[in-house]
Amino acid sequence: MADLVNLTIDGRAVQVPPQTLVIDAAKTVGIEIPAFCYYEGLSLQAACRMCLVEVEKMPKMMTACTLPVAEGMIVRTETEQVKQARKYTLEFLLTNHPLDCPVCDKGGECELQDMVFRYGAGESRYTEEKVHTPEKQFSPVVFFDAPRCILCFRCVRICNEGMGVNALGVINRGVVSEIAPNVGDHLECDECGACIDICPVGALTSGTYRYQTRPWEMTHVGTICTHCGDGCKTTLGTRNDEIIRGNNRDRSGINGEFLCIKGRYAFDFYNHPERLQAPMVRVNGKLEEVSWAQALEVVARKFDATVSANGSFGVIGSNHTSNEENFYLQKFAREVLKTNNIDHHRTGDVVTLLDAMSGTKSQLATVADLYDRKAVLVLGADLALEHPLLSYQIRANYRHHQAHVYAITPGEVREDKYTVASIRVGGGPASKKGDLGVIPGKEVGATTSGPGSHPVGGPGVVPNAEAGAHFDPVNGPGKATGSPTGFVVPANVKSITGNYFDALESLRDQLKAEPELVILFDDSIKGADVRALVEFAESLGIPVKFICLVDYANSRGAVDMGLTPELFPGYKPTGASGMHVSEMTGSDLDVLWVVGANPLKGAVKRKAGFLVVQDMFLTETAQQADVVLPAASAYEKSGTVTNTTGEVQQLTRAVNTMGAKPDLEIMGFIAREMGVAGQLGPWVANVVFEEIRKNVRGYSLPMPVIATGGAAQSMPVNGRIAVDDLSALVHSDHNGLFASGTLGRYSKVLNSVLESHLSR
């Protein structure tokens, strides 16, 4: 590149693009300039003064975190003056710091501790009594210890900018300044815990991790979160076969350091007291614990007998089990049980999308695309609640690249704060709360914000629940309460009585003018609508990428692996008929085999003659079973899962739970007991994945990427998928931030936070 800027840092020539900050420029040649408040990707603060460096021709020392490079600049970062400045800054930061490292959770991974160790400010000239305030609990997962805080504002910025929640602020002034939560004495937010992870000291600590262990005592295992379909990598800190915490500080995986409450805390279902740890067989009408050998024998004999009697089987697979398990299960069903009655709960119409896309220029998007692409269109879903990672990516894209975001949704969404246009379909109020970027006294439709401009209040305004009463879509602004000053919805939000396609048509010209677009849609667009959507995208004449939103960790993988009667793995039509989930639960099959699903929830009575259930908990389905086999969770097995964007990532076993076995092993043992193990092949995740790579269309993925914990997108299936339109079966659970299907019921944290009891 011709337009690089040349400068010298510590005598070394550095070439970086213009606008690079000195602190980042130094990093490119391996020079670390210490800083607390500076955080890549967030707004600049220059609050901590730790990054002061000497710059030639500048009279005073400069903060490297806010100083852009200039041609010929000469920077010195290791002079006596700089070292002294760092020492004094630390001495100052420690004025009221309690130095309680021995009892602080951050000890061992504390940035302040590291810096003090390096630059030494062990002795202080301050003799005044330290200001002390007692520790506060902001929520079940967030604790705040004000004296430890160095007021770097990182937590405030990640909450405002990264999450778009605005739940944290700094109140008071000077020495008594402290971090404050948004609702009086507590937080009402996403409870994501990003503020805790980003805290450079031990001021914000985690309700679940605090006082549990030391960072160096844990083993850190990177695996994939098993809740929603976004496929975030979560690094589990484990000790003695216990998961102590989840975070992703190493920024590995497609999510960087982002995690929501589920990824960071909701691993805790794994040691719920009701977790099944022994197989159970129904004896005299009651489920009794038996040995694995006994249980497997009962299952194998029943399967054998039913196969030889030409009896009927039904197999229901899971949205949570790995690709290997799903592949093995469908192979088991089709080759051994000779049945095509195999299905799972479909949460998004991936099949129609792939079929409709064949022969077009449209492509599938990745999670990274949401951060890089110039324009994003969200259809239906409230992303911030249902797909928090995707929402985070779009927010970061807007923040860093001013991406144009469009949202067509039935209700208010967090994206409204920065969309070019938000359209409420179905005639609902344009904004149920009515104060997002509100300008008082202006008529509806007044140009107050538009593409690229910040809505009122800047990015990240949180609605005030009280405000709803003041906006009346019928009587107009303000009239509802008689307030003399009117309040209207922002100009970028409007409401129409029509459907999604009326909304799309109204945006046609704007979308056409975009250089490129990513479209995300949930289950409100399915079947013929998906085809119409792809057609619409094609007619725009710009490159369009799609994301079909699905609910769970491996919802996408379940379709890919052929857990449907109409499709083999890799979307090859079977040409044979078979029962769907509701048909299976509703008919008197001889044997129904349910792996990691709960189709009988909601007091559905079992009809099948014999019910085998593999699950972690005694769900409504398991309670009615003849045999219950305790399954391992995603954190207790290896394998791969495919996220909502089709990116395949590896699960790594973090812990073992006594008694439970991975579903793949359970199926393998049943096969061995039946004497068909040779036919089905080894029940080892790696081996099955090799088979998938060789045989499943779209899954010939680069092994080095996956084996090293990376994400590889499964290739698009090019070619028509000639199956009937079964989109009527597609139904999303629309889990919010604090729900996760059946699994969510067993997470203590998800149920403990206040917000899970509010309607969100």
Partner: protein, 160 residues
Amino acid sequence: MTFSPQLEARFEKLLTSYPPGRQRSAMIPMLMYAQDELGCVSDELIDEVARRIGVTPLQVNEVLTYYSMLHRKPLGKYHVQVCTNISCLLYDGDKLYEHACKKLGITHKEVTADGQFSIEEVECMGACSWAPAIQINYDFHHYVTPEKLDQLLDGLRKKQ
């Protein structure tokens, strides 16, 4: 929340005084004017101001707790602010403050039992040239001596 027509008119003007998208700039004047009318900044007022300028109540609280001229508790009818910053200090501002405290029988940020007076020790208010200076509500008083202060306070007390 309803305010007097005069205050509403002021708010209206404030909210149109800034470029579109920067209505939050009206926060401090809105809080000041509302405080003058209501006596202090109440929780309800925080929510109302936040709503009108499109920020969160916490963001209002951040500003509110930062500035010492915004109060969460009602003050006296006459709020006596005595500067004890460097210039006034050199001219016995600290003694003036002590005198005022003794005279009114209250101390920093307290209110007299009859609700007439409150006192606050403040930082520089830009009246160094006429030190020591005090401010009673919005009025400045220069070259204040303990005697002059007594007269001032007695005068105000009679005015009630």
